[in-house]
C-alpha cells in the first residue's frame, strides 16, 4: 500500500507527467473547440471520431509523399473536411438522424482509412519512416526552471489548442456570428424567422468541426508519434464530445473536461510504464471510465436546448 502510494507520489511530482497531460489534452481539446460551434448550432456531432481518424491517416500519407509534416497537417484538415461535407449533406440538407448518420460515418472512416492505408503501404501495415511535427521551444519562457519544460517546450499544436479556447470563447459570446450560431441552436424556428439561414450556419459549423478535427487527428499521428494504426483515435472523438457536454457547451467548461481526460490518459500511460502489478488493459480503461463517470456525475439531465440533435425542417411551417 505504501509502495503504491509512493509510486503515485512519484508520478504526480514529476514535471514530465504534467507535460504529458498537456500533450494528451491537446487532441481532445482541439476537437472540442472545433466542434463546439456545431454543437451550439444544434448538431449532435459524434462523427468527429471519424473525422479525426481520417485526418490521422491522411497526415501520415501526405507527409510520406510530400516530405513535410505541415503539408501533412493541411492534407489531414482537407480530408477530414471532405468527410464533414458528407456528414453535413446528410444531416443538414437531407435531414437524417444525427446519431445514426454519425455512427455510419465513423464506420465508413474506419473502413476507408484502413483500406487506403493497406492499399498504399501493403497488407502488413508497416508504418513508413516519416518526420513528425517539430517541437517549438519558446525563447526565454522555455528556459524557466520547471514550468519551461512543461508549458513552453511543446508541439506548436499544443499552443494552438490552448490558445483556441479564449478565441472560441470570444467568438462564441462576443461576436455576431457567435450569437447567430447560438440562436440557430437554441430555437431554429425563431432564428429562421428573423432571417438567419439555419441550414447554411449549421453546414458551415460542421465544416469547421471537420477541419479542426482533421488537425487534431494529424496531431495524433504526426505530432505525438509518427505512426498510423487502424482505429488509432480509440474513442477520442467521443471523449471530446463528452468534454463539451461536461462543460455545458461552453468553451471554458470544455477546457476543464478536456484537461480531466488528458490527465486520465497521462495517468494511464504512467501506470502502464511503471507496471505496478496492474494488467495494462485495466490501465487503458482509465480514460473511458473517467469519461463515463464524468457523464454520470457531472452531467445529469442536461440538454441546453430542445432543438439540440433534431433535424431542422423549414417546411413544417408551411405544411399545416
Amino acid at each position: 500500500m505504501a509502495d503504491l502510494l509512493s509510486q503515485f507520489l512519484f508520478i504526480f511530482t514529476s514535471p514530465d507527467f504534467y507535460a504529458a497531460v498537456l500533450r494528451l489534452t491537446t487532441p481532445i481539446l482541439l476537437v472540442a473547440m472545433g466542434s463546439i460551434f456545431c454543437e451550439r448550432a444544434g448538431i449532435m456531432n459524434i462523427a468527429i471520431e471519424g473525422f479525426m481518424l481520417m485526418g490521422a491517416m491522411t497526415a501520415v500519407v501526405v507527409t510520406y509523399y510530400l516530405g513535410s509534416p505541415w503539408l501533412g497537417a493541411l492534407g489531414a484538415m482537407l480530408a477530414a473536411m471532405v468527410l464533414s461535407i458528407l456528414f453535413a449533406v446528410f444531416v443538414v440538407i437531407i435531414g437524417t438522424d444525427h446519431i445514426v448518420t454519425a455512427v455510419a460515418l465513423n464506420v465508413l472512416s474506419l473502413g476507408a482509412t484502413s483500406l487506403i492505408f493497406r492499399r498504399i503501404f501493403g497488407a502488413m501495415s508497416t508504418t513508413p519512416e516519416i518526420t513528425g511535427l517539430p517541437i517549438w521551444r519558446i525563447p526565454l519562457l522555455g528556459d524557466l526552471p520547471v514550468l519551461g519544460n512543461i508549458l513552453f517546450n511543446q508541439s506548436p499544436l499544443v499552443y494552438l489548442a490552448f490558445l483556441s479556447v479564449p478565441i472560441a470563447n470570444f467568438f462564441m459570446f462576443r461576436t455576431k456570428w457567435g450569437l447567430n450560431i447560438r440562436a440557430v441552436g437554441e430555437t431554429p424556428r425563431a432564428a429562421d424567422t428573423v432571417g438567419l439561414n439555419v441550414y447554411r450556419i449549421r453546414f458551415y459549423t460542421i465544416l469547421v468541426s471537420g477541419l479542426v478535427a482533421g488537425l487534431a487527428g494529424a496531431f495524433l499521428s504526426i505530432g505525438q508519434t509518427t505512426i498510423f494504426q487502424e482505429g488509432m483515435t480509440a474513442g477520442r472523438g467521443y471523449i471530446a464530445y463528452t468534454a463539451i457536454v461536461f462543460g455545458k457547451w461552453n468553451p471554458l467548461g470544455a477546457l476543464a473536461g478536456a484537461v480531466i481526460f488528458g490527465f486520465a490518459d497521462a495517468l494511464q500511460l504512467r501506470i502502464q510504464a511503471l507496471g505496478m502489478g496492474i494488467p495494462y488493459q485495466f490501465a487503458l480503461m482509465i480514460p473511458y471510465i473517467f469519461t463515463i463517470l464524468a457523464i454520470v456525475f457531472a452531467v445529469g439531465r442536461v440538454s441546453w436546448s430542445a432543438a439540440y440533435g433534431q433535424p431542422y425542417r423549414r417546411v413544417e411551417r408551411s405544411v399545416d
Binding site: 448518420t101 497488407a123 467521443y238 463515463i292 405544411v319
Partner: protein, 376 residues
C-alpha cells in the same frame, strides 16, 4: 398538426411503426440502398485500382458459391440475426443500442468461463447453463447504460460506445490473463468442455442447432413486439414517449426492459457463436459484428422479419469479404465501407421518399392557390 410535425422530424421511424411489410414502397428502399452502396463502392474500388466486377464476383462466390461457403455464411449470419433483433427491440423504444458490440463480448466471456471452468455436467445442463451465463453477461453489461437512460435521461449512445472500448479491453485481459490457455504462444482461451458444445448437424457446412434458436427467437421477437402487452408498450414509448406517459405506461420500466432484453440477446449471440462454432475466444472475437447488427436492423427496417433478410445479407458480406481478401488481396475492411454506405443510403431513402411526398403536396397547394386566385 402534431402528427405532421412528428412525421417530418423523424419520418423514417414514423414510417416504420406500422407492422407488416405490405407495400412495395416499404420494401424498395433497402434494396435501392444496397444497390446504390455497391455501385458507389465499385467506383471507389476503381479509384483504388481494383477491378470491382472481379471483386464482387469473388465476394459472391465465396459467400454462396458452394456448400461450405453457404455454411460459413449461415454461421456468420447467426450472430447477426440475434443481435439484429437485439438492436431492433431497443430501437423500437427509441434506444440506439450501439453497445451490442460490447455486450456480445462480455456475454462471450461469461459463457467461456462457464464452458471451461465448470466440468462434469451432462450436456443438457451444461449447454443451457452456458447460454444463461452469456445472456446474464450481456444483460449485466447493458445494465449501466439502461439505468442511466431510463432513470437519468442520459444519452445511451456515448455511454455504450465508450463501454465497447472497455469491453474489448476486458476481453483482451481475459484472453491474456485468467482464461488464457497455458503453453500457447498465441493468446487465446482454452476450448470449452465437450459437454458444453452444441452438436454439429451437417458436418460439411458446420451447421449447428443455433440457427434454429435464432429463427425461433426472431419469430418470438415478432410476436413479442406485435402481440403482447410489453411489446406494445415498447412500440408505444418509441412512437411517442409523451403520449405513452400520458396513457399511464411506465416509461423508464419499458426502456429498461427493452434495453436489457437487447443486451441479453447480444450476449446470447456471442455465446452461440462460441458453443456452436469456435469453442474458444480470441482477441478478435466477432469484432465489428455489433455494427453489422445495426446495419442489418436498419436494412431490415427494424422489423424482425426484415432482420432475417438483413442478417443473412451482412453474414454473406462477411464470409464473402474473406474470400475476396484471399483471392484478390482486397482488404476485408472494404465491407465496413459498404456497410456504412448502406446505412447512409437507407437513412437517406426514407427522407427522399417523404420529401417527394411533401413536394407533391406542395405542388397541389400551388394548384389550389391558382384555382382560388382564378375564381376571384
Amino acid at each position: 398538426m402534431k402528427t405532421k410535425f412528428k412525421l417530418l422530424t423523424r419520418p423514417w421511424l414514423e414510417g416504420l411503426q406500422k407492422a407488416g411489410l405490405s407495400s412495395w414502397k416499404r420494401l424498395a428502399p433497402p434494396f435501392i440502398a444496397i444497390a446504390a452502396a455497391l455501385i458507389v463502392c465499385g467506383v471507389l474500388m476503381l479509384f483504388m485500382n481494383f477491378n470491382p466486377l472481379l471483386a464482387y464476383q469473388a465476394l459472391f462466390e465465396s459467400a454462396i458459391g458452394n456448400k461450405s461457403a453457404i455454411g460459413t455464411t449461415i454461421i456468420k449470419s447467426l450472430p447477426l440475426l440475434i443481435t439484429g433483433l437485439a438492436v431492433t427491440i431497443a430501437y423500437r423504444t427509441e434506444i440506439f443500442n450501439i453497445g451490442v458490440e460490447g455486450q456480445i463480448l462480455v456475454g462471450g466471456i461469461f459463457a467461456i468461463w462457464v464452458g471451461t471452468k465448470v466440468s462434469g455436467l451432462p450436456s443438457f445442463i451444461h449447454i443451457p447453463l452456458c447460454m444463461i451465463a452469456g445472456m446474464a453477461g450481456g444483460m449485466a453489461y447493458a445494465l449501466l447504460p439502461a439505468w442511466l437512460k431510463a432513470k437519468r435521461g442520459i444519452n445511451e449512445v456515448i455511454v455504450t460506445l465508450l463501454l465497447n472500448y472497455v469491453a474489448a479491453l476486458l476481453l483482451s485481459w481475459a484472453v491474456r490473463g485468467p482464461l488464457r490457455e497455458p503453453g500457447q504462444l498465441y493468446a487465446k482461451t482454452a476450448e470449452i468442455a465437450e459437454t458444453a458444445r452444441l452438436p454439429i448437424l451437417v458436418p460439411e457446412m458446420r451447421l449447428h442447432p443455433g440457427i434454429f434458436i435464432a429463427l425461433i427467437l426472431i419469430t418470438l421477437g415478432y410476436f413479442f413486439l406485435w402481440h403482447t402487452v410489453p411489446g406494445f408498450n415498447i412500440r408505444f414509448v418509441g412512437a411517442n414517449q409523451r403520449a405513452a406517459e400520458a396513457a399511464g405506461i411506465n416509461v423508464p420500466k419499458t426502456m429498461m426492459t427493452s434495453f436489457l432484453i437487447s443486451g441479453s440477446l447480444a450476449g446470447l449471440a456471442g455465446t452461440l457463436h462460441i458453443i456452436g462454432t469456435e469453442y474458444r475466444m480470441l482477441e478478435s472475437f466477432l469484432s465489428g459484428f455489433g455494427y453489422d447488427a445495426i446495419a442489418a436492423a436498419l436494412v431490415g427496417q427494424l422489423h424482425p422479419l426484415g432482420v432475417l433478410l438483413g442478417g443473412f445479407f451482412f453474414g454473406a458480406l462477411r464470409s464473402g469479404s474473406n474470400g475476396m481478401q484471399i483471392s484478390l488481396g482486397i482488404p476485408s475492411t472494404l465491407i465496413y465501407v459498404i456497410q456504412a454506405l448502406i446505412i447512409l443510403f437507407v437513412l437517406a431513402s426514407y427522407h427522399i421518399r417523404f420529401g417527394w411526398r411533401w413536394w407533391k403536396r406542395e405542388k397541389q397547394r400551388d394548384v389550389f392557390k391558382q384555382e382560388i386566385q382564378s375564381r376571384n
